[in-house]
């Protein structure tokens, strides 16, 4: 305990290291205005000058020559929330990316980063993509909404396409989403016909408008053809956990469900359904390996057409901010092949429903529809505005369950 001097030196060393790191970081003038998400209202110029001087003295590492590396091909970046091998949500977006490559060949260059957590990491990945020369960025998860808008504010020359969000704070941000509820209406129609126990199971992920809207659409169209139908909903609080999804399917089967819809990505429920002789629907990807049964049809996410069109517009300079919410008619939502396990007359009526939705003749939410507590939501013949529909957070009348929270 006597020797104090080394400790003093030691503390000095730590302080030196810390100061060195900070100074070195501050030494580089951010090129293309790349300060992280915070504004500059807390800037301290004196410190910065000192820091730069210290750093310059420490090491001559200031390599601050801004380089504007302009690649010849149009550079499109994709930020994915899951792995491209998930065979679900992210996989479908990557199919879209590949379609872009196919459509434009050498004229485009696409890159992607997978499994990017929402929040700070997303913002960094987008910025790095731009520093690497990206001209256009697709951010494919709702949770990237604020990050996308933050980055867009700093890079007005880059265009952003954000999936499933609603904020377009800057003219270079567009949002897009798919009217999956149209597909779910068709699935519900088939399910209502196919169930013999009159119990339809539903594996739900998180209690958010997208999922709730899907449940409502499916229920309304199942009840339309089968007034006795009852929905049993299991929330698994995950988008992807094959074992839990399988357990949920088993629980639903054991509760008497003979048709199960899923709003989670894995194929695990299919195996359970196959064993139980029940029916299910592919989700995100087609899950054709389970056809003709238990997979009797599928709801497909098809981003390719939209991606190819928007990239084309951006290349030609005709890209404009938009809020796209496309469904079956534009091909953004697809219905997988209906198998022979479905009786021909049901297939015919499902196709008729599909066609009427595709042509715009019929809206899956057409009044009269009451909310769960019996209040009138839509009067006869009325269809909802997109705004309230997008934020739907109630069950329609007839669903005997409560939304968690």
């Amino acid at each position: 305990m006597a020797d104090h001097s080394w400790r003093v030196k030691f503390m000095g060393l730590i302080l030196f290291i810390v100061a060195g790191i900070v100074a070195w970081v501050a030494a580089i003038e951010p090129n293309r205005n790349t300060c992280p998400n915070q504004g500059d209202h807390k800037m301290n110029p004196t410190f910065k000058r000192i820091a730069r001087a210290v750093a310059g003295a420490l090491l001559a590492l200031g390599l601050a020559a801004p380089v504007a590396a302009q690649d010849d091909p149009f550079h499109v970046g994709f930020v994915y929330v899951g792995p491209v091998g998930d065979y679900g949500w992210t996989w479908t977006h990557d199919q879209g990316r590949q379609a872009v490559e196919e459509a434009y060949g050498d004229k485009v260059h696409t890159t992607y980063v997978e499994s990017v957590p929402e929040g700070a990491d997303a913002e960094r990945v987008m910025t790095q993509m731009i520093l690497n020369g990206a001209d256009m960025i697709f951010t494919t998860s709702f949770g990237y909404m604020d990050a996308t808008n933050n980055v867009a504010a700093r890079f007005p020359d880059v265009v952003f396409e954000h999936a499933t969000g609603y904020r377009r704070d800057h003219p270079n941000v567009a949002t897009y989403s798919a009217r999956f509820y149209e597909g779910r209406a068709v699935m519900g129609h088939i399910a209502g016909h196919m169930t013999e126990s009159n119990i339809v199971g539903y594996i739900a992920s998180h209690p958010i408008p997208e999922v709730i809207r899907g449940i409502n659409a499916a229920y309304l169209h199942a009840a339309q053809v089968n007034p006795d139908v009852e929905f049993r909903i299991v929330w698994v609080y995950t988008w992807f956990d094959p074992a839990v999804e399988a357990d949920a399917a088993q629980a639903l089967v054991d509760a008497g469900a003979d048709v199960v819809l899923q709003h989670t990505d894995s194929t695990a429920p299919m195996t359970v359904l196959a064993e139980a002789g029940a029916y299910g629907f592919g989700q995100a990807s087609d899950m054709l390996q389970f056809a003709p049964a238990p997979r009797i049809s599928a709801i497909l996410d098809q981003w390719s057409a939209y991606y190819v069109r928007r990239v084309g517009e951006a290349m030609e300079g005709t890209w404009e901010q938009a809020d796209t919410w496309d469904g079956i008619s534009a091909g953004m939502v697809g219905i997988g092949k209906m198998t022979d396990a479905i009786p021909p007359e049901v297939r015919a009526s499902a196709m008729a429903l599909l066609d009427s939705i595709a042509s715009g003749e019929y809206h899956p939410f057409t009044g009269p529809i009451n909310t769960q507590d019996g209040q009138v939501w839509l009067t006869a013949g009325e269809t909802p505005e997109d705004g309230p529909l997008a934020g739907m957070e109630f069950y329609v009348e007839g669903i005997d369950a409560e939304i968690p929270n």
Partner: protein, 306 residues
């Protein structure tokens, strides 16, 4: 309402991957080694088993390959911790990172394929007799194997010389070394056994439970297995109890959601974890002395200085 028979059948299936991994890790920890790489070994087992079963077309080959895959990955851990004396906690976590990455690379071409089926051990006629017979006979061979493993581990640890030596190594490696036991060799064998069990659990996941391959499909099962070992206070039968309790609550909460009983879903969702904690608290406060029987040398580095 909830049918207890289907619940029990479901919970046994749901618990088996965790049970397999836990019983392996239990042996590892009994030898005084803490391997936090269970998740990584499980997922390597899942992909190795899946690839093999798909290519050979025979599910049994998949289970063997899964166990082998887990064992091979555990050799990396054994080498680092036993010969290069690296820190076990950090090496285990690194093993998980490495395993998750490697499995995803290996499995790139295997998404969206169905593996060959694993038939039940007993014929259908035997299963359909009554509720009891469907609980007893209605499973695939790996489930019986997992129960056999629990019994075997219990027997070996409690009633054989080999078990005694293993426990001695885990309690006090210096004393065991002084008695002439090969501490490093015994621990390596235990680690490899643990890796094989975790790999088998992973293969069960990809070949029976799910069954298909997707990146990251273990989704935290390895961590639950680690918790189960602690829950069991390093006793094999209690590991069985813990795994079935956890799997049972998980299966039950989904059934409660699917039934017409209304219980807040959020509470149900966190119930397996809370119930496990509460049960452990109850058990540990009743028997004050007995519960903290963690192997004394757990996680400590052994180096024969002699």
């Amino acid at each position: 309402m909830i049918d207890p028979v289907t619940l029990i059948v479901a919970l046994i299936g749901a618990s088996t991957p965790i049970l397999l991994a836990a019983i392996g890790e239990l042996v590892v920890e009994k030898s005084g080694v803490l391997n936090l790489g269970v998740e990584g070994m499980m997922i390597i087992g899942a992909i190795c088993g899946f690839m093999t079963a798909v290519n050979i077309g025979f599910s049994w080959s998949g289970f063997v390959a899964g166990a082998a895959g887990g064992a091979i990955l555990s050799v990396v851990f054994a080498f680092l911790t036993q010969f290069l004396l690296s820190n076990q906690v950090a090496t285990g976590l690194a093993l998980t990172l490495f395993g998750l990455g490697l499995a995803a690379l290996l499995g790139e071409a295997y998404s969206g394929i169905s593996p060959p089926l694993t038939p039940d051990l007993f014929p259908q006629t035997l299963q359909e007799g009554s509720a009891i017979s469907s609980i007893i006979f209605g499973h695939d061979p790996v489930i019986y194997l997992s129960l056999g493993l629990v019994a075997a581990v219990w027997y070996v640890l409690q009633h054989t010389r080999a078990g005694l030596i293993l426990r001695a190594v885990g309690e006090n490696h210096d004393a065991a070394h002084a008695l002439g036991y090969r501490v490093v060799r015994i621990r390596c064998l235990a680690i490899i056994f643990g890796g094989a069990c975790a790999g088998l659990g992973g293969a069960y996941l990809s070949l029976v439970r799910v069954p298909s391959w997707t990146e990251g499909m273990t989704a935290g099962a390895g961590w639950i297995a680690l918790a189960i070992v602690v829950f069991a206070s390093w006793r094999p039968w209690r590991a069985l109890l813990g795994a079935y309790l956890f799997g049972g609550i998980a299966a039950l909460q989904l059934r409660l959601q699917a039934s017409d009983i209304t219980v807040p879903v959020v509470l149900l969702d966190m119930s397996p974890y809370i119930v496990t904690i509460v049960v452990l608290v109850l058990m540990s406060s009743n028997r004050v002395r007995a519960t903290l029987n963690a192997p004394a040398a757990l996680g400590k580095v052994f180096h024969a200085s002699g």
